[in-house]
Amino acid sequence: MMNIRGYGWLLWEGVRLTIAVGVFSMTIAVVLGLFGAWGKLSRSWIARGIAGVYTTVIRGVPELVIILLVYYGVPTLLLDIANITIDLNPFMAGVATIGFIYGAFSTEVFRGSYLAVSKGQIEAAKAAGMNRVQMFVRILLPQMWRFALPGLGNVWMVLIKATALVSVIQLPELMRNADVAARSTHKPFTCYFVASLIYLVITIVSMLIQQRAEVWANRGIRRAA
């Protein structure tokens, strides 16, 4: 039943692209998340407003709609309002969109982890005469990672599954290639099932890495027993 007649390499190519999409969009999501959290905790009401609208809107609209909006909508919008013709490539569009969507989720993660850093640390940094950048890089960021890791791990798990959606914009990642294989072999169940098992393996490996990372991040914390 598991014989997919030489389409294994196609799925393998897909896996590599899926992981590439996942890693690149996660990078964007983390950067956006840090900025978003900074905006949400900012004293300026404009920054708070922008960050608030960003997380509220993105978390209330399905990923698929946003992907379609970016891939098909943005070029037509630019053509309409500015008469610019752009040709989005599916990889860039997919990575940017998924990164943008999950940036909203990691914003909440970073906001929570910032609030989890005890006030005394910030006061001490100020008392030691650090400016805001120094305080962020030397005091806040190293401690925030520890609190943010479980949340970021969850974001990653959801994100890697969401990469399957970019198959609708014809990017030949795992899902799309499974689709191609299913059509050519006339064994749709086998192909999709193999694809689902590959996603499962990615999830399991991510969980193991996350556990190791959490142990590493908490190495300096004393615990009873």
């Binding site: 809107v57 978390r59 209330g60 609209v61 399905p62 990923e63 698929l64 709609v65 946003i66 379609l68 909006l69 098909y72 909508g73 943005v74 037509t76 919008l77 309409d80 309002i81 599954k161 969401a162 990469t163 399957a164 959606l165 198959s167 609708v168 899902m175 499974a178 689709d179 299913a182 006339h186 064994k187 749709p188 169940f189 086998t190 999709y192 099932f193 694809a195 689902s196 996603y199 499962l200 999830t203 399991i204």
Partner: protein, 233 residues
């Protein structure tokens, strides 16, 4: 921006919204009915009851919903002969049934894990107290464990319902005319891509925040015993 094309298609989009709400309501309803026994099995001491649910939940939570939908809708074709023999092929032929089935199984997996969290968070003293009062077995589940687990799990369950509402957009790929399906169809005919996808996004936003509003109201009502009584009534 072509406002006219949006206005023209508002009735269609609203029909799509009705389909989205229907899909969500049916899957959440059936999914919850499945999730309660699943959650109870998941925390059971007997591994023969616990393990199948563990594997089911792990599979459905670890793979993308899109794969699950395709597995059921297109994958069932591989077993057409067998499914015809046992007389269920007519169900699997239709996109609607496959959509509901995949969404239901998916949400059942997530919901039962959420409920498991709720059940495990119940302070043991409450169960001990119930036992001391002579409540055990089914009565204990029904009167003590499940109500408390629901209350504890409610905020997480709210999120799950919102996620499912958004996830229903995927069934547009298997030709169902929900909000996304309508937007895609009209957009590809008229080339008014961003107008329609933005309208679809606005509709989803309204639905999502309506669901959140209702669920927060319910949460407020359920947590009355936790609020300190106000002095001015």
């Amino acid at each position: 921006m072509d406002i006219a094309i949006i206005q023209e298609n508002i009735p269609r989009l609203l029909q799509g919204a009705a389909v989205t709400v229907e899909l969500t309501a049916i899957s959440v309803g059936i999914g919850l009915c499945l999730a309660i026994p699943f959650a109870l099995m998941r925390v059971h001491r007997n591994p023969l009851l616990r393990m199948p649910v563990y594997v089911f939940n792990f599979y459905f939570r670890g793979t993308p919903l899109l794969v699950q939908i395709f597995l059921i809708y297109y994958g069932s074709g591989q077993f057409q002969h067998f499914l015809t023999q046992i007389g269920v092929w007519t169900f699997f032929r239709g996109a609607w049934f496959c959509a509901i089935l995949s969404l239901t199984l998916n949400t059942a997996a997530y919901t039962s894990e959420i409920l498991r969290g709720g059940i495990e968070a119940i302070p043991f003293g409450e169960i001990e107290a119930a036992r001391a009062c002579g409540i055990s077995g089914f009565l204990l589940q029904r009167r003590i464990i499940l109500p408390k687990a629901f209350r504890l799990a409610w905020p997480a369950y709210t999120n799950e319902v919102v996620f499912l509402l958004q996830a229903t957009s995927l069934v547009s790929i298997i030709t169902i005319m929900d909000i996304t399906g309508v937007a895609r169809m009209v957009a590809s005919r008229s080339f008014a891509f961003y107008e329609l996808y933005i309208s679809a996004a606005v509709l989803y936003l309204i639905l999502v925040y309506a669901v959140l509003f209702v669920f927060r109201k319910v949460e407020y009502r359920m947590s009355g015993h936790l609020r300190s009584p106000s002095l001015v009534s």
